[in-house]
Amino acid sequence: MAQEGVESGLTWEVRANSRHYHKPKQKNSFMCFRWGRYADNLVRSYKYSPLTFLPLTLFEQFQRVANLYFLLMVVLQCVPVISSIPWYISIIPLFTVLSIRALKDLVNDMARRRSDSWINSRPCDVLISQSFNTAQWKDLFVGDVLRIRKDQVIPADLLLLCSSEPHSLCYVETADIDGETNLKYRQALSATHNELTSHPSEEALAAFDGVVLCEEPNNRLHTFRGQLHWRGECLLLDNEHILLRGTVLRNTEFAYGLTIYTGADTKILRSCGKVRMKITRMEKVFNKVVIGIVVSVLMTALLLAIGSGVFSAWLMNDLGVMSVLVVDSNPVYTGFLVYWSYIILLSPAMPIILYITFEVIHTVHSQFIGSDLEMYWQPADKPAQARNTSLSEELGQVGYLLSDKTGTLTQNHLLFRQCCIAGEIYGDASVRAEDTEPMDLSWNPFSRGGLYMSAPSLVKKLRGQECPLSRQFLTAMSLCHTVMAEWKNEAPVYQAASPDEEALVCAARELGWVFLSRTRDFIVVSELGVTRQYQLLALLDFTSQRRRMSVLVREPEGGLKLYCKGADIVILERLQKDFPYLERSETALELFSQACLRTLCVAVRSVPEASWEQWSKILAQSAAMATCERDALLEKLYDQMERELQLLGVTAIEDRLQEGVPETIALLQQAGLKIWVLTGDKKETAVNIGYSCKLLDSDTRLLEWQELRQILQSPDPVVSFFKGRQTELWAVDKGRTEGKTAIVLTGPELAEFDQRPDWGTTFMSLAAGCQSVLCCRVTPGQKAEIVTLVRKHTNSVTMSIGDGANDVNMIKTAHVGVGIAGVEGGQAVQNADFALSQFRFLQRLLLVHGRWSYRRISIFLRYFLFKTCGFALVHIWFGFLNGFSAQTLYENWFIALYTVFYTSTPIMLLAFFEQDVSSESSLRWPELYKIGQRQELSSPLLLSLSLLHAVYASLIFFFIPCGVFYNTAFDYQTMAVTVSMAATFTAIIEDHPQQQTF
């Protein structure tokens, strides 16, 4: 039995009700030794223990190069021969920084520990010797049988054995896992359901001695493969039988489950990956500046050390009072020591506090984003959220905006507007949804409103039983979906994973085909008041590759029907030949997509009994196969079934634009952003959305693949592009010089880019001259590829915005990812750097917060550069007058406190609050945003100007007092105070003109 499991990759063995078997194999560790197989159910998200805290936190912190550099400085200062500043001067800031960070880590870790212990001590009912006892989560073992109550969180990955509901169905909410709030059903195997559902259930469950063989723990949340060996039978298990840790049991009194994976082995804990660090361009500039400073410090120190050597050699001639100043009477050695001393002395040019300040400023900016009332979305009670606090200035430099369409530009609130059945079009999309004349649906007791289609003729046909095709069409709509029905107040309430399905099922309900309920094996539908039960034989689910879904049902009369719905190209190629209404349906499809409607084709096939039997056999076999093989086989199997289809009709769903989308797009285009739309929709729909949201103008010329390909293949693409454009314009529209062009691409065409890597550059240079680029029919992977393409071939900051799980890839790939917290669950938001509720908030996020943030941080950086370099460079000039001996010109404490204390407040306030123009003006003159795109405020030129300014200031700091104190009785201390006062006052006063530099 186990042997067989091993062969098919099922190596994880769980025996029910046998703690004595699993306990010795529990995972354990001591020091670095680990043994055992099964993790306990303790969550350990904390990182530190009292013993490991100090070494671990120090290790983590010294992985930053900057910290290492500062540590090196401190170490150097501890060497008495070379220490030009006492050791405590820089150990204090370093120590402060380290301890603040460590404290932050510690506090976070304590919070994690608290939440861990809270989670670990949550109660659950465990079956121990024939009765359920309350135990804590942490005491669970693999193989335990649990009882989950209604609304309880499931403590580990369980195999559902049975539940209190009929057929051992149960409902779970997976909001914590994928952010989707609709209920999903899980159902126990009929075998366990039949045998274990008895009263009292304890006895039967305690006697349950099945053995589960399944995959090793993995992070695939939506698949599961395993076998249950029980009473000599081998039953196949899949995802439908599994209750995942973190989901919540709903609408079910009790569910009984067998623990399969615990703690760290559970799928949810396996799949929380690490967040990839995003580094902003500003930070890169900043790092370059830091490296530049460090290098120039090293160089300057070298020159000064040479000076010191020469000076010492000269001193050596003196046998008098001064000769002692040469160490070991060796000028070279003196110079060597002085080199290190100068490195220490000049190190304040790059103070550690800069990093901390940088972080603080970022955090404050993110807070401002979160607290902006103008970006607060009342209906959902959601403010904007900066989930990644270190990217705020990147928002001010975005050059490319890559947007998803559905749910981002549109509301993803779908309305069933039109349909085409048997070549006949019903409904009218030209009137607005609100203005549609409501139909009289009083005959339908289930009608709840919400149908914005006026087609009395269709209703008449349906009720008059005239047209069998239209009746089938509606049957398909009410059967072919994965919607759950929940009964509330004598009416079904639909819980759908995708809003399309909800719209379709609701429309069917309005028209009299009411989906009443679903069990594992049956779907109950009321057709114009007649309740019919369909046996559900197979559900060929929807994936983004297949782009279609089907259900195979047995009608009450006994016939087998396959109902299929999906994207038009997929369905149309699987139709029977010589279908009478094909041409008219295709016209309808075109019409619908021109009206910006989402279309789906609905088709049916009568399946002969024989072929079903054969097919189902292969299906059963395939379930036992290894994952990858099985997927390929299933694909093929499904494909076999979904053919010879008969087209029933076409549905058209309106996805309305979000509020303020055209205005926002226009504004962002004025601000110099290139807006690309990446969508899985059809080309026509995408283009129409493009027109309706002002992304394309009515006179925009669309450049499609054929033409684009020619241009790309021509020897000099850019020239031929512009030439072609000009001649064409010359012919079409004399006198107009500026041509507007937009590129329209589709997914399969994009795939060609993989083979021609050299096209990328040319394409991007073409795209730069275009108004917009629309990519239709792209997969989530392709979306990310497009973002990579843009990132690779331009210097601009890219921003991706999307709302669904299919946008996660591109959100993660772009420099800045924005998630729209909308209808489609929370995955996009969870992976995004910023979360918004509405597309139109983007204008404020970019043009106001982004611009301000970029400005503030650039000013801060330049000012900081000026402040610290001006301060430290004085020592170079002083070196010329003290024999290059690395003598400091400041009091020790002044060096320590200068950046931290004396001059920190004004610049911090400036970096928090600076507004060159108000938010209203920023939105009124979007052109102001272009400064950020061109990086004008952080350009090398400006940075070097700041450095020059610092050099100039340091010259003044030193040589004016030098002139005053030369040949006077004033001592060193007086001069030190004078120079430091000069530096401080300058730094404070300079702060003010900074804001008016431009």
């Binding site: 001193l315 003196d318 008098g320 009072v321 001064m322 002692v324 100043l325 160490v327 001393s341 401002f368 607290s371 902006d372 009332l373 607060y376 009342q378 209906p379 009670d381 403010p383 609130h413 949804a433 609100e434 709840r448 409103g449 919400g450 509330k488 309430v493 639909y494 819980q495 759908a496 909800e502 609701c506 007058l881 003290n882 024999g883 001996s885 690395a886 003598q887 400091t888 609050f913 507004q915 123009v917 108000s918 003006s921 003159w925 004016i960 030098c962 005053v964 104190f965 030369y966 040949n967 006077t968 009785a969 001592d971 060193y972 201390q973 007086t974 001069m975 030190a976 804001q995 008016q996």
Partner: protein
């Protein structure tokens, strides 16, 4: 839930938060405060010709008078300087400067005559000036033990490591230790007035009050200060004098309150200079109490130098300076000139900008951005 909320959502975009599932949840609506909405009142100066031009003129008009004041004051200060290093063959101190060693026992004396063209009124300050003497060299500045100088008995017997190699000599601790103390200026300067009637009058020089009060009373203390009738000789028993010194520290001066570590010449020397060319206060010539006669009338004077301090090995110079002082200290025209320069530049720029503004400034006098 979906179905029932359809209508409400469609008819008008704004439905209330207390919809389905809302209820008792606390609203996440951000607070409408000036801080959070970034509407804090701000003062934002806009640079226009109207604000910048007056600023230039005002700076010019403030700086130029200050500079003139400083310059005039500095010019009114009388200062006389005589270099007695003895570099030239003709110099009286040439011989002394030539055959010199730190431990020669016979003092070499030289006499330098000079003529004061103006009478010096009120207190006259007498400085010695050194050039090319790097008193600000780090290894030199460090080479002292402040706690020893503050009278700490343990530091007296065990000087700090910083003093090396001037911490011990012949296994005895050096007091005061360190390079600074070791290199203390030890020329003796005396002034004589050659009265027109032929007599040579020695001018009384005060050596009290030349150091900072805080140094004399706080920073520097003799060991065992506080004790009744202290005997410095006994206190410094067991220590040795710095190598280059001729006398031990407790014989620096006859007066008890100016001896040992609190000798003011010593304190002045220990306060290191900022730059390699510096002067230090040597003596004060108090104005006569009757106030009728100038402190130093016009006439011939003689400076008698006991030449002990070698500077020629490091190409240094020694000077004696006589100076009156004003509210701004000694004679120093630099600050005045600097102020006048900055003021003039500002004023000039102001004029230039005014002309530019006048000629082509009306192009866009209404700002594009009204904020």
């Amino acid at each position: 839930m979906m179905a029932s909320s359809y209508n409400a959502k469609d008819e008008d975009g704004h439905i209330t938060v207390t919809g389905p599932g809302g209820g008792t949840l606390r609203s996440k609506k951000p607070e409408n405060t000036a801080f959070k909405q970034q509407r804090l009142p701000a003062w934002q100066p806009i640079l226009t010709a109207g604000t910048v031009l007056p600023a230039f003129f005002i700076i010019g008009l403030i700086f130029i008078p200050i500079g003139i004041g400083l310059y005039v004051t500095s010019n009114n200060i009388k200062e006389f300087e005589v270099d007695y290093t003895g570099v030239d063959m003709s110099s009286p101190c040439f011989n002394c400067s030539q055959n010199f060693s730190w431990n020669s026992t016979t003092p070499c004396t030289c006499t330098i005559p000079f003529f004061l063209e103006q009478p010096y009124e009120s207190n006259v300050f007498m400085y010695y000036g050194l050039s090319n003497f790097y008193q600000n060299h780090r290894r030199y500045v460090k080479s002292r033990d402040d706690s020893q100088l503050n009278g700490d008995m343990t530091s007296l017997k065990e000087p700090s490591k910083e003093c090396e190699p001037y911490a011990y000599h012949d296994n005895k601790p050096i007091a005061p230790c360190g390079a600074i103390a070791n290199s203390m200026f030890n020329d003796t300067l005396e002034l004589f007035y050659n009265d027109p009637n032929g007599t040579k009058v020695q001018i009384p020089l005060t050596n009290i009050g030349i150091a900072w009060w805080t140094d004399k009373h706080v920073k520097f203390k003799n060991p065992g200060a506080g004790e009744a009738n202290q005997n410095l000789t006994a206190v410094f028993q067991g220590t040795t004098k710095p190598l280059n010194w001729r006398r031990p520290v407790y014989e620096l001066d006859a007066a008890a309150n100016n001896n040992g570590f609190i000798n003011e010449d010593f304190i002045v020397w220990m306060r290191t200079a900022a730059l390699p060319t510096f002067r230090k206060l040597y003596r004060i010539i108090k104005s006569p109490s009757n106030g009728m006669m100038p402190t130093m009338p016009r006439g011939n004077y003689t400076l008698e130098v006991v030449y002990n301090y070698p500077v020629r090995s490091f190409e240094g110079r020694k000077r004696m300076i006589l100076s009156t002082i004003s509210w701004m200290g000694g004679k120093n025209p630099f600050l005045g000139i600097a102020y006048i320069t900055v003021g003039s530049v500002c004023f000039f720029l102001g004029v230039v900008l005014l002309i530019i503004h006048h000629k082509c400034g009306n192009r866009n006098n209404s700002a594009d951005i009204s904020n």
